[in-house]
């Protein structure tokens, strides 16, 4: 799965008006509820780089100076960059870059078919358990649409992995024969 572009997300969160670093962190975690929460350090480091590149500018400071007292605003250049990012289609799966996939390949290379098979079975069990957790998030009566949409994203990807795991379990013996002729 692709890495999230934190700089662009922060630019997006600033599009509605200037904000402090801690407000940005809070808005990020609220809008992207299933994402890895942003660390404060990461927010300030990213803001620093965005400022250096002219994409954001400080928009006033409280009396006591310090990074957490500074509000940031989008510059015109920042707005253009954000706009460009939003109009660019992401390349759909340019590479099969998945640890899960690589692990099965390596297991087949270095060990017998049972090693790969037991890994596939264990991984399928872990995926199924996670699928159940995320489904419970969704069916909780207090779930917001943000929760549901974020959980659905993860569920759809887990489901795709599960189908692949299942299909590959059925092919792993033949595959091993191909790898070790």
């Amino acid at each position: 799965m692709g890495e999230v572009s934190t700089p662009h997300v922060l630019l997006g969160l600033l599009a509605g008006g200037s904000r402090h670093g801690y407000e940005l962190k809070r808005a990020h975690d609220e809008r992207l509820p299933r994402a890895r929460p942003l660390a404060f350090g990461q927010v300030y480091a990213t803001l620093g780089r965005l400022e250096r590149d002219g994409l954001v500018a400080t928009a006033g400071q409280d009396r006591v100076a310090g990074p957490d007292r500074t509000a940031y605003a989008l510059t015109d250049q920042g707005r253009d960059t954000l706009d460009q990012w939003l109009s660019t289609v992401e390349p759909p799966m340019p590479y099969v870059a998945s640890t899960l996939f690589a692990k099965v390949v390596v297991a087949l290379l270095v060990a017998d078919v049972d090693r790969a098979r037991s890994y596939l079975i264990a991984q399928r069990a872990a995926h199924t358990a996670r699928l159940r957790e995320l489904t419970a998030v969704k069916t909780d009566p207090s779930a917001t649409l943000s929760d549901v949409v974020a959980a659905d994203f993860a569920i759809a990807h887990l489901d795709a992995d599960l189908r692949w795991l299942h299909a590959t379990l059925g092919r792993v013996a033949d595959w091993h024969r191909e790898v070790h002729p």
Partner: protein, 233 residues
């Protein structure tokens, strides 16, 4: 507390064995998924549990009473009062409107007309299809029909809902919406659900999964075939 039990249930269709000795318990308010490959006996098991089919051998017990030996009339009464049934294709009554379809199980159970109609509207609303209340199934989309059928299956607040691939004919989003709502409402009113499906993402709605293979329980659990390595999630 266990309310529905199957003990060594065997059932064949002529020479074809469908169930070869299935034992399971269903607790009050529990949501259980029954999964397994095509032809493994899921639908046959659901029909035996719901008292629609009679097993050739073994027992089905409802709250301490053996129901597999009951007459068709007695089992049919049990289905009307305690159970709800939902299939892949809603099977609404073609001559009745959506509201009349949903009100029907209540009327059969002796509820007054006005009260049944009010409840029907409430349930149609819960599944987002109040706007087709006065429409007959022939003029509804497949998704609307299935939402109505789901409302009809829950309107009597049954103790157990038997659902066989209830979202199998729906697109992904509609299926997810119907199932999310079904599970929320079932939990709210403590209706137990037997959910037959072959899809992992549908089975994930259940508290527990029973996997059938060739007419037998292959394994049961939280969908975990083997323990997680190192407790990693």
């Amino acid at each position: 507390m266990t309310q529905l039990q199957a003990r060594g249930v065997v059932r064949a269709y002529g020479p074809t064995p469908a169930l070869r000795g299935v034992t399971l318990d269903l607790a009050e308010g529990e949501i259980v998924a029954v999964t397994g490959p095509s032809g493994c006996g899921k639908s046959t098991l659901l029909h035996c549990l719901a008292g629609i089919l009679r097993p050739d051998a073994g027992e089905v017990t409802w709250r301490g009473h053996r129901i597999d030996t009951w007459s068709e009339a007695a089992r049919s009464r049990l289905r009307r009062t305690e159970f709800g049934v939902l299939f892949q294709f809603g099977q609404l009554v073609a001559e009745l409107t959506a509201a009349e379809n949903v009100a029907l199980p209540l009327l059969l159970a002796g509820t007054g007309r006005r009260e049944a109609r009010t409840a029907a509207f409430t349930w149609l609303e819960r599944f987002g299809v109040a706007e087709v209340a006065d429409v007959r199934p022939g003029e509804m989309s497949g998704g609307q029909q299935q939402r109505c059928a789901t409302a009809r299956a829950l309107v009597t607040e049954p103790r157990v809902l038997f659902a066989d691939e209830p979202t199998g004919a729906l697109d992904t989003l509609t299926g997810e919406q119907v199932l999310t709502q079904l599970v929320r409402l079932a939990r709210e009113q403590r209706t137990a659900v037997v959910l037959v499906t072959h899809e992992p993402r549908i089975a994930a709605y259940a508290d527990r999964e029973i996997v059938l293979r060739d007419g037998l329980v292959d394994h049961t659990g939280l969908g975990l075939d083997v323990p997680l390595a190192g407790g990693a999630r």
